[in-house]
């Protein structure tokens, strides 16, 4: 087995990233970290990670659901988790209505690190088994069904309340 990270965290808060990386390292789970969207996308291009955990708000970087669509278009099999400390319940509900994000987590949630650690462990396990072509076929169908205009509308509505 060649040991490389199968999960990618895109987050501009070094303390959060380091905390999660340390937690995972203790469990023998490597994690790739990017602090901007462009860096994250570059790393994703190379690795096509099984799991991408992305912060919604990256003040010094491009951000938004449309960017997650770039990930989905590149490799629809990747599982996407959106994390945020600023989105409210209404925003969460709007995001949940799109078929883009697999899971939404609030950064302030006490159990988030544990949930993410389990997600990263699951991704590492998935990487060790053969491709689920049935699921990948379904992922490809879903990819073309995503309505970009809906994502634009959600991004526009959410951007009003985001800190800059």
């Amino acid at each position: 087995m060649i040991d490389v990270p199968h999960s990618l965290l895109i987050d501009d808060e070094p303390a959060f990233a380091q905390s999660l990386k340390s937690l995972l390292a203790g469990r023998g789970l490597p994690l790739d970290v990017a602090n901007s969207w462009d860096d994250g996308l570059n790393q994703f291009r190379v690795s096509l990670h099984e799991l991408v955990i992305a912060d919604y708000n990256l003040p010094n970087s491009r951000n938004g659901l449309k960017l997650l669509l770039e990930i989905k278009r590149l490799h629809p099999a990747s599982r996407l988790i959106l994390i945020s400390g600023v989105l409210d319940a209404a925003a969460e509900a709007a995001i949940a209505r799109t078929p883009l994000v697999n899971r939404y987590l609030t950064k302030t949630g006490a159990s988030m690190s544990g949930v993410l650690a389990q997600e990263v462990a699951d991704a590492a396990q998935r990487a060790q088994i053969g491709t689920d072509w049935l699921a990948l076929g379904q992922n490809h169908i879903e990819r073309v069904q995503i309505d970009e205009r809906v994502l634009d509308e959600i991004d526009a509505a959410l951007s009003v309340n985001l800190p800059r």
């Binding site: 087995m1 060649i2 040991d3 490389v4 990270p5 570059n42 790393q43 291009r45 190379v46 690795s47 096509l48 590149l74 490799h75 099999a77 990487a127 060790q128 088994i129 053969g130 491709t131 072509w133 990948l136």
Partner: protein, 170 residues
């Protein structure tokens, strides 16, 4: 660089240098490969390389174009490669379970975004070399005589952090 990954074209050029009056590009590739195998650095390939190599060797045996590439030649070159593997001079990287799906995506994206001709097997070589480089945390040289690799890396420089394409026949 202390690690080199071979695609099938690198091995095939080496094997074609075994016939009488071999082309100079093949003798140059053979000399390069022999230096690597006899040296101290790590040299590796994947199952994809071996499958492609065996397929090409068999094609040469059947083809009237390669009259000197007969069954004796095929047995000689395949046995020599397998001997390198048996003695540990040539590593076969562990299979990566989702590599074909990874390569499937890279081929789709390279064509859609940049019109680059990239075969799925070539994408898999890039995937193996890149993954090996990431695990070693160093740049790996990918030996190939196929120019499509250089074109791909030119369009996607994120890969150049991990791999460098080297044409052993030049």
């Amino acid at each position: 660089v202390t690690a080199s990954y071979l695609d099938a074209s690198a091995l095939l050029r080496w094997s074609e240098a075994k016939i009488p009056n071999a082309e100079s590009r093949n003798t140059r590739a053979a000399a390069h490969l022999t230096r690597l195998i006899d040296g101290a650095d790590r040299v590796a390939l994947s199952e994809i390389t071996l499958a492609e190599f065996q397929s090409n060797v068999a094609t040469h045996v059947r083809s009237p174009v390669f009259a000197d590439c007969d069954q004796t030649w095929a047995t000689t070159v395949v046995t020599e490669v397998m001997g390198w593997i048996a003695t540990g001079r040539l590593e076969v990287l562990p299979s990566i379970p989702r590599m074909i799906a990874w390569a499937f995506t890279q081929v789709e994206v390279a064509t859609r975004e940049n019109g680059i001709a990239l075969a799925v097997w070539d994408a898999a070589h890039i995937g193996y070399a890149t993954t090996w480089a990431r695990s070693l945390n160093e740049v790996v040289e990918l030996l190939t005589t196929d120019s499509n690799f250089t074109t791909f890396l030119g369009a996607y420089p994120a890969f150049a952090v991990h791999i460098r394409v080297v044409d052993p026949s030049t």
